[in-house]
């Protein structure tokens, strides 16, 4: 039977999950409470039960820039998996947040001792990382921006005559 603390979608069906018992505790962050800062030691990670957490980055001369927000059911933090075990971004709660907090060093030790659990947990994290990488790549496309060619068409197109009608647009995305 899965301990109540480990009943989180991210851990559903994870083999040997009970071994994580004792490495986790329930924590609460009030709105605006910081989880971690860029450059600090990555010694924990969290599974959000309810609430919202913003990953942010300090940019000199500007307020902290929010890179992404995470919500119910999401994972916060993977820098604890790899040396040098330091956070690359910061994180703060942007709503009252309840999460399961894991002791990173203890979880690494359990995973080393139990490769079945270790591989399964790593696969879960890779899935999350893959999703966020894909999302970041799509955001790089800036899909919702106006097409610069359509916005300022050249007086003489590079080749061929101009279209008989202007490029379709409007509320057809």
């Amino acid at each position: 039977m899965t301990p109540p603390l480990l009943e989180h979608p991210f851990l559903a069906g994870l083999p040997h999950a009970a071994e994580l018992t004792g490495r986790a505790r329930l924590v609460e962050f009030p709105r605006a409470g910081r989880l971690f800062d860029e450059g600090a030691r990555a010694d924990r990670f969290w599974l959000i039960q309810t609430g919202k957490v913003a990953l942010d980055l300090h940019v000199p001369g500007r307020a902290d820039v929010v890179i992404e927000t995470l919500g119910d059911g999401d994972v916060v933090g993977w820098s604890w998996l790899f040396p040098p075990y330091a956070w690359h971004f910061g994180a703060r709660a942007v709503a009252d947040t309840t999460a399961v907090e894991f002791d990173a060093a203890a979880v690494r030790a359990v995973c080393d001792a139990d490769p079945v659990l270790g591989q399964a947990l790593l696969r879960r994290f890779l899935g999350v990382m893959c999703d966020r990488l894909q999302a970041a790549r799509i955001r790089l496309l800036d899909l919702y921006a106006r097409d610069p060619y359509l916005e300022t068409p050249p007086a003489t197109p590079p080749s061929g005559p101009p279209p008989a009608t202007a490029p379709a647009a409007g509320s057809r995305p």
Binding site: R62, V66, G170
Partner: protein, 282 residues
């Protein structure tokens, strides 16, 4: 009136939704176009400039019209973004000016066919405009549907369409989540891709109908997220964009494999196009 002859409509109201997007309210000068269904589009003609396909963003409940500002007559509501010569001319149209309207054309969202199910409405950018009639139809007949979830992605907070209406929809029982690609300091909502909202939203994948509109890449990834949640492909509808010219399936400019998007679309079931929209130059 023939399918190729624009009906003159007078601009009776122009509302700036964002810095580059306006909503025009149009009333017929003479004969009105036929009633429309949510998801259909018209060909809007800026006289002397050109013609473009524009989805109808107004309420479908009154035969495609809402009462005019003075309650005097049928009104066609269309939201468009200035991206080219024609759309710039249309966006610049002021009350009193006349534009041409052909249509309505194409397939619809079939909102009524989703009775008894959760509605998952996913919009990206200007894609919220063609989905606004879906939200309005759900609100007008709220008891016919279970959860109504609206997930919106925008480039920045200042690009978000209908912010006041979204707040009102939320108060009327629509579960709304909004995310932006780039946030400013004042933004307190979500930041990230709209697919993250699809993953987090609460709905029953086995008993839902999904309506997706936005840039095609956004729709592909949204559909994959919905499929991963367990939504059957035939329950996902997307609104395609191709180079529509005639609007009636004659010219072939909007061909997508076996489909003519102006006639067989723009709204199509995802299982019918999933393999087509990943083919280059099809």
């Amino acid at each position: 009136m023939t399918a190729m002859l624009p009906a003159p409509y007078r601009v009776i109201d122009r509302h700036e939704e964002t810095y580059d997007t306006v909503t025009l309210r149009l009333e017929p000068v003479g004969a009105a176009i036929p009633d429309f269904r949510p998801g259909q589009f018209t060909m809007l003609y800026a006289f002397g400039v050109g013609e473009v396909p524009i989805s109808i963003s107004g309420d479908g409940s009154g035969g495609g019209r809402t009462a005019g500002g003075d309650g005097a007559g049928p009104v066609l509501v269309q939201t468009l973004r200035a991206v080219g010569a024609v759309t710039r001319a249309l966006c610049d149209a002021r009350p009193g000016m006349t534009v041409g309207v052909r249509g309505p054309y194409g397939s619809d969202w079939d909102v009524a066919g989703a009775a008894g199910q959760d509605l998952v409405i996913v919009a990206g950018g200007i894609g919220l405009a063609p989905l606004r009639p879906v939200v309005l139809a759900a609100l007008a007949d709220r008891d016919r549907y279970r959860r109504v979830v609206l997930l919106v992605g925008a480039r920045t907070p200042r690009d978000l369409l209908f912010p006041a209406e979204i707040a009102a929809w939320r108060e009327r029982g629509i579960e709304v989540a909004v995310t932006v690609d780039q946030a400013d300091a004042g933004w307190t909502g979500d930041v990230g891709l709209v697919t993250a909202l699809v993953d987090r939203a609460v709905y029953d994948p086995a008993r839902c109908a999904a309506f997706v509109c936005g840039p095609e890449v956004m729709m592909r990834f949204t559909a994959r997220s919905l499929l991963r949640r367990g939504v059957p492909a035939h329950r996902i509808r997307v609104s395609l964009e191709r180079d529509m010219k005639c609007g009636v399936g004659l010219c072939g400019h909007c061909q997508l494999g076996p489909l003519l998007v102006c006639r067989d679309g723009p709204v199509v079931r995802y299982d019918g196009v999933a393999d087509l929209i990943v083919v280059k130059e099809l």
